[in-house]
């Protein structure tokens, strides 16, 4: 009998901080999810995390997460069993009960959602996810990029309704139909999809991201306690670069087709005095511009942290006067293959520039080979 690591309340706090950092400005606020998860722990439920090495080839793993507008999630509280009912509906359609769950996206509120569902269902959660960050659409996951059909996919709402999308023409149609159903359900729903074997999870998921989120949270709390620079610790842990530091001098933000879109102007401070950058937003931070040049671009992670506290700043709270550090973090290699760039590269967001990856400083990233294996398919 395999046994993973069991999470405690402190883990939930640190995972929530790390998930918000990996949310690259979007992904929804993990705070409410953290409170709900904590409540379940206090009721005596268990949250068990398994490594990739614990996966059996014949495991049945489902991707689980919330779908909808993050701003709605703050006002319209979940009933609490949306994802669980979505999971049950998907299982019913496939006829294959889950043996483990995995997060759709580690960035933002969906880091905690599968932990809650897994605790309710008595299942373990795999240490990994389908994005290694946050993205706005369902098909933007490594699972689907590398050929896992998203369907059957189920949506469940707070009222007791559920819709199973049993087959769709392709993953873009899955996103279209799921999005419209979510809007009708009240702009927030729980979703369970992408039935996978253990072998498929190993092949397609971004590994170790729950642990990474926890480590990020721990580093931030520790640096704050020791009065050291949390931004430096986060940068180091992520193998990223500090692209810029400055004060937010202008925020232009609008709601467009269900997305928060806009642009942020940051004027340099300290070493960056006299310079300025612009950051494009679409739920997440997408592109950093200096003059007419791209400094960093999606799918690489662009993270805004409060200069003092290291607190991640989401696109919806961003406003004039914030002092921020702009970090650039190389995306996981599974997001940078030719195949992946078609789905999550600049062109997928309407840009014409070619993706130039940030240098990968992290010597512990072992996934170069994995990406090479995946690409030719």
């Amino acid at each position: 009998m395999r046994s993973g690591r069991f999470l405690n309340e402190t883990d939930l706090e640190t995972i929530a901080i790390g998930a918000a950092i990996l949310g690259t400005g979007g992904g929804g606020n993990p705070y409410i999810g953290r409170l709900r998860a904590r409540e379940l722990l206090r009721q005596g439920l268990k949250m068990e995390v398994l490594d990739f090495s614990d996966l059996q080839d014949d495991d049945v793993v489902y991707e689980v997460g919330g779908i909808g507008a993050p701003v709605v999630g703050i006002e319209k509280f979940e009933h609490g069993d949306e994802c669980l009912r979505a999971l049950r509906a998907t299982e019913h359609q496939t006829g294959r009960p889950a043996t483990a769950l995995i997060s759709s996206e580690i960035g933002g509120s969906n880091a905690l959602e599968p932990l809650i569902t897994a605790a309710q269902a008595g299942l373990p959660v795999i240490d990994g996810d389908g994005m290694g960050r946050a993205f706005p659409e369902v098909q933007m996951s490594t699972f689907m990029i590398y050929g896992i059909p998203g369907t059957p996919a189920a949506l469940a709402d707070d009222k007791g309704n559920s819709v199973v999308l049993s087959s769709t023409r392709d993953v873009y149609w899955l996103e279209r139909l799921a999005r419209q159903v979510t809007v009708e359900m009240g702009a927030a729903a729980g979703m369970a999809l992408s039935a996978m074997t253990g072998a498929q999870v190993r092949e397609t998921a971004v590994p170790g991201t729950l642990t990474l989120a926890r480590q990020l949270g721990e580093a931030v709390l520790e640096a704050r306690a020791q009065r050291r620079d949390p931004v430096a610790r986060v940068t180091e842990l992520l193998g990223g670069v500090r692209l810029f530091e400055g004060k937010v001098t202008d925020v232009e933000r609008r709601l467009e087709r269900g997305f928060t879109r806009g642009q942020v102007q940051v004027s340099g401070l300290g070493d960056f005095q006299g310079e300025s950058v612009k950051i494009d937003l679409q739920n997440e931070n997408l592109v950093v511009w200096k003059g007419g040049e791209v400094v960093a671009s999606v799918p690489d992670l662009i993270i805004l942290l409060d200069l003092e506290s290291g607190e991640p700043i989401t696109t919806e709270v961003l406003r004039f006067g914030f002092r921020v550090a702009v970090l650039g973090v190389p995306a996981h290699p599974k997001l940078k293959t030719e195949r992946a760039l078609q789905v999550v590269g600049p062109a997928a967001f309407g840009y014409s520039h070619t993706f130039v990856p940030l240098p990968d400083f992290n010597p512990t990233t072992p996934h170069k080979e994995a990406a090479d294996v995946l690409d030719p398919r």
Partner: protein
Amino acid sequence: MSWIHAEDLPDIAFGAAVLGTGGGGDPHIGQLMAAASIRSNGPVELIRLQDLHDDDLVVPVGMMGAPTVMLEKLPSGQEALLALQTLETHLGRKVRALLSVEAGGLNSTIPIGVASELGLPLVDADGMGRAFPELQMVVMTLHGVSATPMGMADEKGNAALLRTIDNRWTERLARTITIEMGGSSLTALYPMSGAQAKVATIPGTITLLADIGRSAREARQAHGDPVEAVRAVTGGFYLFKGKVRDVERRTVGGFARGVAVIEGLDTCAGQQCRLEFQNENLIATCDGEVLASVPDLITALDAESGEPITTETLRYGMRVVVIAMPCDPQWRSPAGLALVGPGYFGYDVPFVPVETRFPARSVGIELVGAG
């Protein structure tokens, strides 16, 4: 009629247009699809409700969406299969017989094509006895039958399985999905046991459709009065005869809403009739007085040919006879009226059965007979 052959379809489609009360979609496309299917797969067995075993799985099938879209976006023929498969997978059972959701309009002939395609019998019954714009407006709702689990599919290969807390939520979610699917979809819903179908549907409506079509055709062939033939076979009443003077039509919330003003002819000369519709004809008034209202059936027929006229094709200059037919008694219960009565459609008038308003039928007949 225990088998439906391709040559039976024109009569059925005619009858469906009469019970369509101006809406429900043009049965012609469904007729063509059914004819093509019967030619390659053979005729469809029409069974009676009492022929069903109590534990048979009976599933109504029908198109959902805007009738105008269905005229342009033709179904591929695979949607029904996919919608039914989705439902069968969920239930873990095979369908024993199909049923029409609504006998009025397009959804009369669609299940015939599907039944032929799948080699399944069709039950001689339906869920409305007419046409209505929303999917919870079936007598099954009055009997507590849930619309879900419901399967639906489009021509692109997309399919969904819905489970909802009530039939209005089914309508909301299925409508949204239908719009995203391109404005029309094929649905398999209200799965029932044979025992449920025996009490929770309206019996004999497919036979009635064929009878209406045959009566009108025979009257035309004998140079008789097809309008009177339709009225007689449906137990209807003449409301008005006249010339369409004005049609005001707009699309509101996915529905064709509007009003036709009809200037009286013959015995109705000097009077004015207003026919208000929302996809279907809802209420007919004459000089401010209600003549008939939903859920009773109101249909405008061409004064010469007896051909039923849809709300989409109604236009200036047409000479029409407006008839009203009593709806199935189930619709006249308090629950039925709450679901589909004048109040639901925004009219602050009490429902009065058409036969109560027109106690002397002979007066009505003379009304037109004089013209």
